[in-house]
Structure formats: structure tokens, C-alpha cells
Amino acid sequence: MGRTSRIPLPLLAAISLVLVTTALAFVFFVAPDDANQGFSQRIFYFHVSIAITAYACFAGGAWNALLHLWKRDPNADLRSYVCVHQGLIFGTLVLLTGSIWAKISWGHWWLWSEDQLVLFLVLYLFYCAYFMLRFSVDPGPQRANLSAVYALFGVVLIPVSFAAIRLAKNLIHPVVFTLHGPNFGGWILVTYCIAQTALLALAYTLYRLELGGKRLDVRLRRLREVLA
């Protein structure tokens, strides 16, 4: 993920605002009602896009962690942390939207029998533990190292747990791209793609915002020190 010099932040924010508005418009006015679930199925566009975005954030966190360990990139630690933080925020949203959807379509907020849900919970717990780890080490090179290593573990865990779930049961939780393969098209696809792009853009904006704030913090502290 990027250097601060790429797209100016205000422009980026404007773009993601436009995208999110478009996505909302598409979701509510363009996409057709689902045959079985009716209107409530529209939460799908957000739920799935948010989930994918969360994964993207975690991947970004791991990539920056790798850069930190491998290239000793001095800013990679902060970037990695911000990525994981965004991932956790979007992860919370996945749990929320998923739960709402589950309540609507299954009548339960949570189902232990759905392994994929529990799997996501495991990942969620994993990244909560990342935070615990990070905040129980004093700032410094060691904290950066430990966080980076644990973030790397995360990307190994994701495919491994997918394999574990696949092994444990045939997937009950719907997998759009295989299950609905043929009839997943037209406006549904377009709407989904727009929503996905919008959320990725939103996540990136938030990421840049947080990163900027954190960097400013660091700079201010340095400045104060020089003055003192």
C-alpha cells in the first residue's frame, strides 16, 4: 500500500464518497429483489464486500510486515499496524452485517453449526490478539518485530483455516462464486462490483487518514523534543 505522495487525500476522499453514494444507489434502486429473500438480500452487497475488504486489509498488513522484516523499511511497521486496524474495523462490520442477515434469514443472531462463521470469529480473535500483543510491548524495534511476525502468521492462518473448514464439513455457508455461478450476473454483478470498489476505496481512504494522523503525531513529538 501506498506512499503518502500518491493521490492527495482530499481527492481520494471525494472519490470514495462518490463511489459509496453510487453503490448505495445501485443497491437500493438498481439491483433486483432476490427471489427467495426479497429486499433483505440487499445486505449481501455490503456484507460480502466488507468481508473481502477486511481480508484485503489483513493481507496489506502482512505485506507491510514482510517489508518491515525483510527490507527493514522504517515506515512499514506503522503501515502494517494501520492496515490491521482497518481490517479489524471492517471485520467487526462483517460480524455485524452477517449477524443481522443471519437474524433476518435464519432467525438466529449466531449459529455455532456454521463453521464458516466460527472460522471468521477465529480470525477475528486472532487479530484482537494482535492488538493485545502490540499494546503490551513498549514502542520500539522489538514491538515492530513482534507485531510484524504475528501479522505474518495471520496470512498463513487464513488459508489453513479455510482448508480446515473445507475438511471439517462441506461448506454450508454459501459460496457465491461457485454456488450461484450461472445466475450471478447482470445487475447483481454490476452492483456487487461497484459496492466492492466503493468499500475498498473507503478502506483505503480511512487507512490514509489514520496513517497521516499517526505520522503527524510522531513528527510533532520529534519537533517538541528538538525544541525542548
Binding site: D138, P139, G140, P141, R221, E225
Partner: protein, 195 residues
């Protein structure tokens, strides 16, 4: 042997070392002094490779096997005997004449008789002697010694004097102390850290 440029170290907000420049040639003997909390230990740990500076660079012309570091902690296992501890380090440093060298350093620092006792039952001075044994066991090129005289009795201090005098010139020394007079005759350079 050691070249540090504009070295700095901070712990979070707190700046401990600031712009240290240091050139220690092979065979040199640098004495570091400074009040409590000045950053001597921090500097020595960086020089030994145990910590990284947050600013500046450090170059060391010695592999890890060629560094001997004596810190504030003796770095030995209290539940093991002196012999077992030195055996462990001897193996880890892959010494060719391990057993012989272990016996030699134990004898040199007057711990031969106590070699089969657990370190937990050692007195403080005996533990410090054992830590010195550990450092000298693999005959390092670069010796980084943080207050090596602490806890030693007069006999022990003289043993150490003799040891330092013997190696002076052949090995490179970086030594922190609160009693610079003691190592004055050996020193080739001095660095005084301010608090």
C-alpha cells in the same frame, strides 16, 4: 574494530543517547564513564549487538562468535552448576578444546572447587566471577565489559586486572566503570557520557 556514527537511542519518548561518534581501533581499550543513568549500559549493549540504535549507524568488525559481553546480569542459569553453564556456552561457541578451556577459566577465577555447586547457591562475587569465566571462555576479539569489577573482592579484582593487562593490545576492549582510576593505566581512550 568498532565505528559508530551519530549514534542515538531512544526508549519511546525518552532520549538516552544522542549523537555519539566512536572509533575504536583493533587493540584499543576504551573506557566509558558517566553518572548513573547516563547510558553506559545502553551504549555497550548496542556495541555488543544486543540492541539496535534508533539513529545513526554502527559497524563492527567482529562476528558474533568473536564478541564477549559482560552485562549487569550474569547470563547464567541459576539452577545449573558452574560447570554445566560453561559446558553449555562452550558447546554453543563450538570450542575445539571445550573441556580443557572450561577447566582453565574456572581455575583462573578461583571457581574450580565450587564447579559442581548450583549457581543459585553462589555468593554474589562468585556469580560475577562465573560471568567473567563465561565471557573469556571463547577468547573473544572484542570484549564489552559493563562494570566488570562490581562485586569482586580485592583478590578477584586483581585477577581481573591481570587478565586485562595480559590481553591488552591483543584484544579490543570497551569497558564501562564508575572507578576509572582502576583501569587508567590500560586505557587507550575514554568516553564520558553526560546524564
Amino acid at each position: 574494530m568498532l565505528t559508530a556514527r551519530r549514534l542515538g537511542k531512544r526508549y519511546g519518548e525518552k532520549r538516552v543517547l544522542r549523537r555519539i561518534d566512536l572509533v575504536l581501533p583493533r587493540g584499543g581499550f576504551l573506557v566509558v564513564t558517566g553518572p548513573n543513568g547516563a547510558g553506559k549500559t545502553t551504549l555497550l549493549r548496542i556495541c555488543a549487538g544486543l540492541a539496535q540504535p534508533t539513529e545513526g549507524t554502527i559497524e563492527r568488525e567482529a562476528t558474533r562468535a568473536q564478541v564477549g559481553y559482560l552485562g549487569h546480569d550474569p547470563l547464567v542459569y541459576r539452577e545449573l552448576t558452574a560447570l554445566e553453564n560453561l559446558e553449555l556456552y562452550g558447546r554453543l561457541y563450538r570450542l575445539p578444546e571445550r573441556r580443557e578451556r572450561v577447566g582453565m577459566v574456572l581455575e583462573r577465577f578461583g571457581l574450580w572447587e565450587a564447579r559442581h555447586e548450583r549457581v543459585a547457591s553462589y555468593s554474589r562475587g562468585m556469580t560475577q566471577r562465573l560471568a567473567l569465566c563465561r565471557v573469556l571462555l571463547h577468547d573473544p576479539e572484542l570484549l564489552v565489559l559493563d562494570e566488570p569489577y562490581s562485586a569482586l573482592d580485592e583478590a578477584g579484582a586483581e585477577l581481573l586486572d591481570a587478565q586485562l593487562a595480559e590481553l591488552r593490545g591483543e584484544r579490543t576492549f570497551l569497558l564501562a566503570t564508575h572507578d576509572p582510576a582502576r583501569v587508567e593505566p590500560l586505557a587507550s581512550a575514554a568516553l564520558a557520557l553526560a546524564s
